[in-house]
Every structure is written in C-alpha cells, then in structure tokens.
C-alpha cells in the first residue's frame, strides 16, 4: 500500500501522511477501509511506531481517519466531499517541489513547464490515474 523511503531526506511521517491523503483523496482508500494497525505498519516497514502513531493522530484530528474502539483505524466516511480544496492542494506539495527543482536545474522557464503540465493533463484520464495508483499487495 505504501512506499516509504527512510533515506530520501524527506521525513517518514511526511511521506506516510501524504501517501495516505493521496490515496484517500483519489478514492483508492474508500471510506470504511481499515488501515493497518500502528504495530503492523511499523513492523512491515521497520520504522518507529511513534511515526505511524503521529501520522494517524494528525489525520484523525483532521477528520481523514477515524478511530473505532477495539478496531483498527478506518478511513472516515464522506471524506471526498468534505476535503477542503486547500488541504488537497497541500497534498501536492512534494511532487510540485520536485518538479520545480528539476525544471530549474534544467533552466526551463515557468511557461514551458506549465505548458508541458497541461499537455500531460489532457492526455491522461481518470482511469489511467486509477490504474497507476493501484495498491501493491500487502502494506
């Protein structure tokens, strides 16, 4: 489900946070889907359980996830309708940063990049996006 890279320079909690948000926003994680427990996720990726706990708590506070007594964390219902535009845009922060950095290094100007982005947008459609983001087996 998640691809976590501890040695990428990007904090793990941010990676996990963004990936959960993205999967929820895109519908990959449908409302009611159960997420792995803190212990399971931490063990599967060999990361500190506190990291997972931090992310789950933050997402719960923002209403993305909800906690059920005795049961694993689940995706909160009606997430898509309620997600504020700004929050969903914020989830794009990391890829945008990379895009800008790469473009700058290649000494491309903003217009060229936006044009390329528009082209890419038009040639892709929702189905392709869903196909690409199909979750891997396991966590």
């Amino acid at each position: 489900m998640f691809v976590l890279k501890p040695h990428s320079g990007v904090p793990l909690h941010r990676q996990l946070d963004e990936q959960i948000r993205r999967l929820v926003a895109s519908g990959q994680l449908a409302p009611g889907t159960a997420l792995p427990s803190i212990r399971e996720l931490a063990l599967a990726h060999t990361i500190n359980p506190m990291t997972v706990s931090k992310v789950y708590t933050r997402l719960e506070a923002e209403g993305v996830l909800e906690r059920n007594r005795g049961k694993p964390m689940t995706v909160a219902a009606q997430r898509r309708a309620q997600a504020p535009h700004s929050a969903r845009l914020a989830a794009l922060d990391a890829p945008l940063e990379h895009l800008v950095l790469a473009a700058r290094q290649l000494e491309l100007d903003a217009d060229a990049v936006i044009e390329a982005l528009r082209k890419k947008w038009e040639t892709s459609d929702a189905a392709t996006v869903r196909g690409r983001a199909r979750p891997h087996k396991g966590v």
Binding site: H7, G9, P11, R39, A42, L43, I47, P49, V100
Partner: protein
C-alpha cells in the same frame, strides 16, 4: 506523562585528567528510541557506561528509574538490558548453555520470545561459542539482553558485524519492543541508516559534548541544504550565515545550514538576493556536515 527512565545532569567524566565527556545532560522517556551518533572516540561508550553505572561520573549525576546509576539496586538492574560492543560470552559454553546461565540471574524470562528469536535468527543452540562467527556471537549477545524483557535497553554498536538480513531482523525486534510505548531503547551505531529508520530522538556527541540532542524531526528541519539561484553571479566572498558547507558555481550556490527558520531565510535572501530551494538531508549527510 511517566517519569523519565533516565535523567542525567551535567555529566562529566575524565580519565587521568583527560576529559571524555563534559557537561552532558539528557533524558530518556518511555517509548523513546534514541540513536547515539559520534565519531570514534567521541564518548559514546563512556556515555552508555555512565548510564549503566559501570563507572562513576567525575561530576554531575545520572539516575536510572530514579536511582543513582552507580548504585543500582538489584530490582532495578532487572529492568535494564545491555549489549556491549565486545561480547562477553564464555567461549567454552554452547549457546544454549550460555542462555541458561544468564537466564538464571533473572526472576522473569520470556522463554517463548527467546525460542522464537533463536529460530528466526538462525542460532544453533548446540554450537560452542568459540566456534561461532563474529556475527553469530553478536546475535547471541543481543539475545541475552532481551530475555528478561527490560524496560530500558542500551546497545553499543550492536550490529556492526551483522549481515543486512540479520540487521533487519534485529531492527524489527526493536520495533516490537517499543511498540507498546512503555519500553525505551538507546543505541549507538555507525550504521546511520538503521538509526534513521528507527530513532525518534538523536544524540550527537562531538568532542565529549552533546552537540545535538532532540527530536529527529527537529534535527531534519534544522539542518537543510539550500539551493540558491541568483540572477547574477554569487561569489565566494558572500558570507552565508549559519553555513556548515558552501559550494559556489556561477549563478548558483549550495549551502548546508543549521538552525533553519523563517528568520534565517529572510536573512539569506537579503544578503544574497537569490531564490532559495530547501532540500532535506539524510541523517548521514547531516552527520557529515556537522563534522566538516
């Protein structure tokens, strides 16, 4: 919030009038995984030994579970586990025998855990310690410290001789240990990648002092690499504040700075007039930058 498991204040240790640690203060809370980094000779082993009460502090004080570490009572010792850098196994015994020997010192011992780990970590209980490879010996050493389920586990370079698979298994076990939030782990290692995975707090020892001590996330946000892109050539005369390393190329510059904040950003923008991209660093890069 529970009482901290370990509290140290102004710890100083000197051997033969040569200071090894000076004015070190720290705390270990329940559930922490603390990674201790430092060059060889920076004092990592001494720090761990002070916490364990092997040696008394020259000045200052360190308490474990509320007791002075140099005089730990037996009941408190049972809550602490230690894996030394050089194993202290008895060569003539078999691994199984060694386990039973250490087991006899403790009132509670998790046989099921040890049995499972012996199987998963591929340890031959019938093999004599002196015939074991260094990696096997290290694995056995670690095992000896886990059986009594200590609340505080201290490890001094526990995985230096383990192959990647064994290391990963060890790290998984650490995750298991801290999962319930009541047990803490402090480990020093040169394998920065392992610490990067698991630690939530980092202690960096440099020249006998705690050069950095705090949350890993805070460290990551403090020490970053900046990519400066100016409209005109940036020359090396420009002094970038808080810089640990700077590299100039025509219009661009890369600088690693510490104490990154909005104020610092404003300062640098003012001085250089350049656009700033911020890049996060790996723990290894951070460590290297601190020691240049």
């Amino acid at each position: 919030m529970q009482q901290p498991y370990v509290v140290a204040r102004d710890l100083t240790k000197a051997f033969d009038d040569k200071p090894v640690l000076s004015g070190v203060s720290f705390e270990v809370q329940a559930g922490d995984v603390i990674g201790v980094l430092g060059k060889n000779g920076a004092g990592k082993t001494t720090l761990l030994e002070l916490v364990l009460g092997f040696t008394p502090a020259s000045e200052g004080r360190v308490e474990v579970f509320g007791h002075e570490s140099y005089r730990l009572p037996g009941a408190v010792k049972a809550r602490v586990g230690f894996v030394p850098q050089q194993d202290e196994l008895v060569n003539q015994l078999t691994a199984g025998h060694q386990l039973k020997l250490i087991r006899s010192f403790y009132k509670t011992w998790d046989d099921a855990l040890i049995a499972r780990l012996v199987a998963v970590w591929d340890i031959d209980l019938g093999e004599r310690v002196k015939n074991m490879s260094v990696g096997q010996r290290q694995k056995l050493s670690i095992l000896l410290a886990l059986g009594h389920r200590p609340d505080l586990l201290l490890l001094d370079e526990p995985v230096a001789s383990l192959d990647p698979l064994a290391r990963r298994q060890f790290l998984e076990q650490i995750v298991e240990i801290v999962a319930d939030g009541n047990r803490s782990v402090v480990f020093s290692s040169h394998i920065v990648a392992d610490i990067e995975r698991l630690a939530n707090r980092i202690w960096i020892l440099k020249d006998g002092r705690l050069h950095w001590q705090g949350d890993f996330d805070d460290l990551r946000e403090s020490i970053v690499r900046l990519h400066l892109r100016g409209t005109q050539p940036l020359h090396s005369q420009v002094q970038i504040p808080n810089a640990l390393a700077v590299d100039f190329t025509h219009n661009h510059a890369t600088a690693i700075v510490h104490g990154w904040s909005a104020e610092l950003e404003a300062q640098i923008t003012a001085i250089t007039g350049a656009e700033i991209e911020v890049e996060g660093l790996t723990l290894e890069d951070i460590f290297l930058a601190m020691h240049r």
